[in-house]
Amino acid sequence: MIGIIQRVLLDLLEETGGEPLKFAVMDRAGVPHDRDFRIDQNYPDDECLKLIQGAVDETGLSEDAINVLYAKAFLKEARNLFPQFFMMAKSSEQFLLRQATIHGVIASGLKKPEERQVVKDKFSARSIEPGFVEVTYRSPNKLCGLFRALAHEVAGIYGECLTVHCADCMKRGDDACRFELRWEKTAPDGILSSE
């Protein structure tokens, strides 16, 4: 897993519970305290999953609650780091259609072509009709809860309302998750449009 995911989680933990919380979670995952997660490098998946689980265990929050908090923090960091991606998309629908490609862009930072391919193979998105996007997500990490949270958060950034229906789900034994994303016809003014 590319380091941006772990980096945002550790920053969020430090921001909310200070270094003690961050280190406690790192200890649970067996990650050394001086580890600097880079956005252009790959780290073991199971280490990342242990960090997420560690955050659930240490905070006592539910996985869903952690996902929502994480999604907010992640997108805040993503908007800081890659504002252009958000400017390019005029709506959350456009942004989420491009999300798989954005992952591909970040994957280019990895040196090994096979590692880049793993990242690229996780997501694909297609527009079924205006206001309806289908995203396929295939990953041993099964972070579909995180996907939902991030998708809703993106819609929130644009001041839009989105429903996410999980038509297929890896957690229910399907080979991949298939998310049906639908937008209401009219949307109130978003944060981006008022900026």
Partner: protein
């Protein structure tokens, strides 16, 4: 890290990325940019450059693949075209308008009774072989094609044989133009139409075209000659009551009888309207009246 340390660090990152990118000067895009910095913006810059490089590599790969597909297509088409050309008796010519040189197919050379040349020829090579009376017509037809007043070339001319005589050719061609509309390539075929043009299909005898050309040759050479016209009267009235086969037989019989009369130095031609013509050159010392 204070601000000035950060700036120095970022300068190092930029210099390092720029140095690594110098590799691309030899069209080597198969490189991975790595930066040794904790600065997230330095990492972001390097990964975006890697994305760009990856896309360049992908496009290069696509281009190579596309090229291979196109080359295969061209090879296939060339093979098919070669097959068509070698299966036909026509000659093929391709005129490179930029170089002003023409490549002729083996058949084209064979039609002129010459051995094939691998290298392209200057247009004069062709024009010098065309009968002086036809060369103007051919040149102006080619000019009309080049200037665009005609979209297709269609010209008949006599092509000199290595052995000395002439054979009638029909030349067809088209012109390809560049973006500015100037002729880039002219290409076409050459068909030997001597038989079609000079022979009466019914009797197999030379026709009026052929007779006319021979008369012109003799007039030009200021030779003395005579022409005897033999009109077979009421032939139509006879053939009306005959079927096709019998009619042909009758024509052949008439031709044969006249041929028997014709000396080897005389030419017998069939003209329209059931008329036959003998053409005979008078040799010095001969009296045409005696010959008659």
């Amino acid at each position: 890290m204070n601000d000035s340390e950060r700036i120095t660090d970022l300068q190092q990152v930029i210099m390092s990325i720029a140095d690594q990118l110098c590799e691309t000067v030899d069209n080597n895009f198969d490189i991975h940019i790595s930066v040794d910095t904790d600065d997230i913006h330095g990492q972001k810059l390097s990964l975006l450059i890697n994305f760009l490089l990856e896309n360049v590599r992908r496009h290069n790969r696509d281009m190579v693949q596309l090229n291979a597909v196109l080359e295969e297509k061209v090879r296939e088409r060339t093979e098919q075209l070669d097959m068509v050309i070698s299966g036909s008796t026509d000659g093929v010519w391709i005129w490179d308008a930029m170089q002003d040189s023409i490549s002729f197919s083996e058949n084209w050379y064979r039609m002129a009774g010459e051995k094939a040349h691998a290298e392209a020829q200057k247009p004069e090579y062709w024009m010098n072989r065309v009968h002086p009376k036809d060369v103007c017509r051919l040149k102006s037809a080619i000019r009309a094609l080049m200037e665009g007043s005609k979209t297709q070339l269609h010209a008949e001319y006599r092509l000199r044989q290595e052995s000395g005589g002439y054979r009638w050719m029909l030349c067809r061609g088209v012109c390809q133009r560049n973006d500015m509309g100037f002729p880039k390539l002219l290409a076409g075929t050459q068909t030997d139409i001597t038989h079609l043009r000079s022979v009466d299909p019914q009797s197999g005898l030379p026709n009026e075209h052929y007779l006319k050309e021979r008369i012109e040759d003799l007039l030009e050479a200021r030779s003395t000659f005579y022409v005897i016209l033999v009109a077979v009267r009421q032939l139509n009235a006879i053939t009306e009551s005959l079927d096709q086969q019998a009619t042909e037989k009758l024509h052949l019989e008439i031709s044969q009888r006249l041929l028997d009369e014709a000396h080897f130095s005389r030419l017998l031609a069939r003209l329209p309207g059931n008329t036959y013509a003998f053409l005979c050159q008078v040799q010095p010392g001969e009296n045409p009246h005696d010959l008659l």
